[in-house]
């Protein structure tokens, strides 16, 4: 059997170059030159779950940074919350391990030029994808401000992924309680021409509602359950407005204009609609 040549998402055996464990997160540098060349902010990769996880045995991860100028060592920085489950399994990898990646997956951000700054908000591991967006806006010269929200305490290890973004353009703070989240986001939206939010669904929804009330365009990166990430299974349904139709989160998303999402039908796993 022969395998077809193509330009779309593909398997690429990445090589783990470095793993760093922080208080709350594990970050790995993985060499994957093909994906590094193609991947855009908003897009993601899948990594195989270790034996004993799944099926489905793949986890979706958005890169925090992409290194394109290092030849065969060009690759991605992937970040996951430390845990015994799910992508926390990155913590079991060692330098030299092969990682059967598939990518790039999904559709990238298509941020329009707007008057005013683009406010990029990343919560928890969403801070990773936020930094990749910020880095590409920096390259493109678009005015932006990046706000990362991570678990307390916030110290020099809190947001381990922020080089190469200049620190002046990034704020890192502890994720506020739900009541304070609304006022915090309102302050950020007040100064913005558009908002990008990468956060757990309930926080993303609040952020969207704050933006809508202020008529600030809001772009949301959603992370629905994804069994395949490549458009085969329809597990990643995202209800689109006015409701009762579903987009494929992995192919049509993961980035959606907030107005397009039928939020009332988007229930996180285990929460009754």
């Amino acid at each position: 059997m022969t395998r077809p040549r193509h330009q779309g998402p593909a398997r690429e055996d990445g090589t783990v170059l470095l793993r760093t464990d922080f208080d709350h997160y594990t970050s790995i540098e993985v060499a994957a030159p093909r994906i590094a060349r193609l991947i855009q902010p908003g897009q993601f990769v899948s990594v195989p779950a270790p034996p004993g996880f799944g099926p489905p045995g793949r986890w979706m991860l958005s890169p925090a940074a992409v290194r394109r100028d290092s030849g065969d060592a060009s690759g991605l920085r992937l970040v996951a919350r430390r845990s015994d489950n799910g992508p926390g399994a990155l913590g079991q990898l060692h330098s030299g391990d092969l990682l059967a990646l598939i990518g790039p997956l999904g559709s990238p951000f298509q941020l329009p030029a707007v008057a005013g700054i683009t406010s990029i908000i990343g919560v928890d591991h969403g801070a990773a994808a936020a930094l990749f967006v910020a880095d590409s806006l920096r390259e493109a010269g678009g005015p932006h401000q990046t706000h990362l929200f991570v678990p307390a305490p916030v110290d020099k290890h809190a947001a381990v992924w922020w080089d190469p973004v200049p620190r002046a353009a990034v704020s890192v703070e502890a994720t506020p309680e739900p009541q304070r989240w609304t006022t915090r986001v309102a302050r950020l939206a007040a100064r913005a021409g558009q908002v990008v939010i990468i956060a757990p669904t309930p926080l993303a929804r609040t952020a969207y509602e704050v933006c809508r009330a202020r008529q600030v365009p809001c772009w949301v990166l959603l992370e629905p359950f994804m069994a395949c990430g490549i458009g085969l299974c329809l597990t990643c349904a995202v209800p689109v407005a006015p409701g009762n139709t579903y987009a494929r989160g992995c192919v049509d998303g993961p980035v959606f204009p907030g107005d397009q999402i039928a939020w009332q039908h988007l229930s996180p796993a285990g929460r009754p609609t």
């Binding site: 490549i230 085969l232 229930s267 009754p272």
Partner: protein
């Protein structure tokens, strides 16, 4: 003399449908072929069973639609799809252009809906050679009872489609969630099925550890993956024993060549792979190669000679 894997003949036959290799991409796990074709050459894959379609576009169920369990996954997609017309107008011509061998899967929420799908096929200029009828659907005219769980209901679906499509090869896809699968198998064959596909997913449920509420919005979902392989082997065995002349497309939990060989030995004439495609979209290539090597190691020169071999007594060496 040892047999070289390259010398193994993998061709097989499903009620007259010739397959170059026995591996079939299971319905609902490869959509209509486009996405997986960037990983697999469809012309070199045994066949693809397209995602089941209804008579009209259908939204499916709200999220959450899937859950992970220790050895399988649960899904409740609810037959989201574009409907039979888009399949006929857009996807089947594309698949034909790729040189893919295709099983067209249809579904319905009533006997009329299955018949409507069959009529659309009969009236369309693009001929359909092989149909897989997914009878694991709730019958809205009978308190949402699943057709596949009752021999009369299953037979009525097959008969309705057979009446409209007298010359099309029909395989009926059975559910394992029944007391006696041979009873349903017989009913489908008597109603006009040329072959049987088994098994579809088993009904299951999961409780979310954080909320202690059902993980799936629909509470129940179909369990697939390695967890269900022993059930598939059992069902294939029983049906092959009861109806040895009816070809079976076996599936359920196949991840490796050994799994494909086990289902074949139990009585399958070809083997479908589903959930494994999600994590390894080119799994068909690997599993086919493994199957070839295994057959060679058993000294079996033709895949067809392995079909149902487990039902024959071991010959003394």
């Amino acid at each position: 003399m040892t047999l070289h894997p390259d010398d193994v003949d993998l061709t097989t036959d499903l009620a007259g449908l010739r397959l170059s290799t026995p591996l079939v991409l299971a319905s609902g796990t490869a959509m209509y072929g486009r996405e997986i074709s960037t990983f697999l050459n469809l012309a070199e894959t045994g066949a693809i069973a397209t995602k089941s379609v209804l008579a009209r576009p259908w939204p499916g169920l709200p999220p959450a639609r899937a859950a992970t369990t220790p050895a399988g996954m649960l899904n409740s997609i609810g037959l989201q799809g574009e409907g039979i017309r888009t399949l006929l107008d857009e996807h089947l011509p594309w698949l034909a252009k790729q040189g893919a061998t295709t099983l067209v899967s249809i579904a319905g929420h009533s006997i009329d809906e299955y018949a409507t799908c069959a009529k659309a096929i009969a009236e369309h200029h693009q001929p359909v050679d092989t149909l897989e009828i997914n009878i694991s659907c709730p019958n809205v005219e009978d308190q949402d009872r699943v057709f596949a769980r009752n021999p009369d209901a299953a037979a009525r679906v097959v008969a309705a489609v057979r009446t409209v499509l007298p010359h099309t090869r029909i395989t009926a896809k059975l559910s394992p969630d029944v007391a006696d699968i041979t009873e349903i198998a017989r009913a489908c064959v008597d109603a006009g099925a040329d072959a049987l596909s088994l098994i579809n997913t088993l009904l299951g449920a999961a409780i979310h550890p954080r909320t202690l509420r059902p993980t799936l919005s629909h509470t129940f979902g179909g369990l697939s993956g390695p967890a269900i392989k022993p059930v598939a082997v059992r069902c294939i065995w029983q049906v092959h024993q009861a109806l040895p002349h009816i070809p079976v497309l076996g599936g359920g939990g196949v991840r490796r060549g050994q799994d494909a060989l086990d289902l074949t030995a139990a009585g399958a004439s070809a083997v479908s792979i589903g959930t494994v495609n999600f994590e390894e979209p080119d799994a068909a290539v690997r599993i086919t190669a493994e199957l070839r090597t295994l057959l060679a190691s058993h000294g079996i020169a033709r895949y067809r000679d392995a079909i149902g071999v487990a039902h024959r007594p071991l010959e003394p060496r």
